[in-house]
Amino acid sequence: MRTQYDKSDVQRLIATLGHVIAGAFDPDKPLNIVGIRTRGEVLARRLAEILRGRGFRDIGRGVLDITLYRDDLSEIGPRPLVRPTQLDIEIDGRPLLLVDDVLFTGRSVRAAMDALSDFGRPSVIRLAVLVDRGGRELPIQADFVGLRLKDVPDDHRVNVRFAETDGRDEILVEPR
């Protein structure tokens, strides 16, 4: 299994992902793109940029912090700082693209959908992730996937890093 993807790989994966997403929505209608903190937020920002370049004129952007909605709080040890959720956008009746860096158990996505339902009722929610590493514990699947990794051992992590947050773009499969 390949365990390392560098800057050009990551940028190519995001460009392809953006291309596929652009073909799935109507550029003349509003679209909300909401990233899950922290790296889903970065990916959402980059995807929004690509969609604007493809003629999408009405893109709403938001950020979800899902810490307070997780169901595994007692299993994950001391938690990082809870940061504010920023959803100053019209959500009701509009399509919403939820964005995260890695899809694994599906629990983050479930938590994100719970959080979203406290803010409003999108017409549809679609899910875009940069990496799907398998290992789902819930019946949740992504609609748009940049990279599918099969057979990642359970004791390994898939770490996505972005220039904005980590100084460089890369994907690494590493032991925990």
Partner: protein, 324 residues
């Protein structure tokens, strides 16, 4: 986004005082409160962080603001809440503090919020119960969540705490708010000036790092924040306090004194106010008053505290990253 706050993790199961907290821990609570403030702006003002948890307000002393604030904070975190007060309980039948707390705990609670007239009560309980304990005021010792909400409100107003000059005025010796404010403000780098008559402000406070002043007018023009304390008639011995009129004349925030303050001075009061005694009504209700903002911020700060002590109470003795 600084590296240190990103890497910091909260591990205290109880909140008993600000004296025991580091500057970093205090900042972490204030930053967490920032996020909880956002929750109160939503149309559904509730998050599931403490769902299935039980919070007990155990108040052995009267309170309106603090008790209501803790209740609402617990409810906004989806916790179940039990209100327990001295009146109409077994306490009036002579049950001891520890027995009462142990019995409440035996019902399977997660957080005990305690107010008690004896200094150290919360600390004693934290040693005999397994759940988290939050001090909501213990005698004249500390009122840490009030201290935190004062810090939060000052930081929100000025964008910083370091370097500010803060006067805390009035009945210092009987005030747990003054002690919590003093510890918190010193740790975050403010200069604290305590103001009051010698009977209500002994020199011993200098040992806690404060400047002690008995003449309000000497410092009135220098300070950025004035925190007027309530004169606590229920705790004051008559020998400490000659007359209301004299107190107002020497230590009240009167209109005349207010005119001599810095232009952007920020006026605070922990409530409940004795209007016309320690603070003039139109100043308390004026544009430079943060008194109601303090109450609003108290809710976010208490949500943060309940959330943090609970997650620390849950900690297994391992640390791994969340699985996505």
């Amino acid at each position: 986004m600084t590296t240190s706050i990103d890497q910091f993790r909260w591990t205290r199961k109880h909140l008993l005082s600000l004296e025991e907290l580091s500057a970093e821990e205090i900042r972490f609570i204030l930053d967490t409160a920032d996020s909880f403030k956002e929750v109160s702006t939503r149309s559904i003002k509730k998050v599931p962080a403490l769902r299935g948890r039980v919070v007990v307000n155990a108040f052995w002393e009267d309170s309106t603001r603090t008790r209501t604030s803790f209740s609402l904070a617990a409810q906004r975190l989806s916790a179940d809440l039990i209100d327990f007060s001295e009146r109409g309980s077994s306490v009036s039948k002579g049950e001891t503090l520890i027995d009462t707390a142990r019995n409440i705990e035996a019902m399977g609670i997660d957080i005990l919020v305690v107010r008690h007239p004896a200094a150290g009560a919360a600390e004693v309980l934290s040693r005999v119960v397994k759940c988290s304990v939050v001090n909501a005021g213990d005698g004249a010792h500390e009122h840490p969540t009030q201290g935190l909400l004062d810090l939060y409100t000052i930081r929100e107003r000025f964008g910083r705490i370091e370097g500010l000059k803060v006067a805390i005025v009035g009945d210092i010796v009987n005030s747990r708010v003054a002690r919590s404010d003093l510890w918190g403000l010193k740790k975050l780098g403010a200069e604290v000036i305590l103001v009051g008559p010698p009977t209500l402000l002994p020199r011993s406070f200098e040992a806690m790092g404060a400047r002690v002043v008995h003449n309000f007018d000497e410092v009135i023009g220098q300070v950025d924040v004035i925190n007027m304390l309530r004169v606590q008639f229920e705790r004051i011995k008559s020998s400490q306090f000659p007359s209301v009129r004299e107190f107002t004349h020497l230590f009240g925030l009167t209109w005349d004194r207010f005119q001599r303050c810095k232009k952007d001075v920020f006026v605070m009061h922990p409530g409940p106010m004795n209007r016309g005694l320690e603070i003039q009504s139109d100043i308390a209700d004026g544009p430079q008053s943060g008194i109601l903002t303090q109450v609003t911020n108290g809710l976010a700060v208490r949500m943060a505290v309940l959330y943090l002590v609970r997650q620390a109470g849950d900690l297994p003795h391992k640390t791994s990253s969340p699985r996505r």
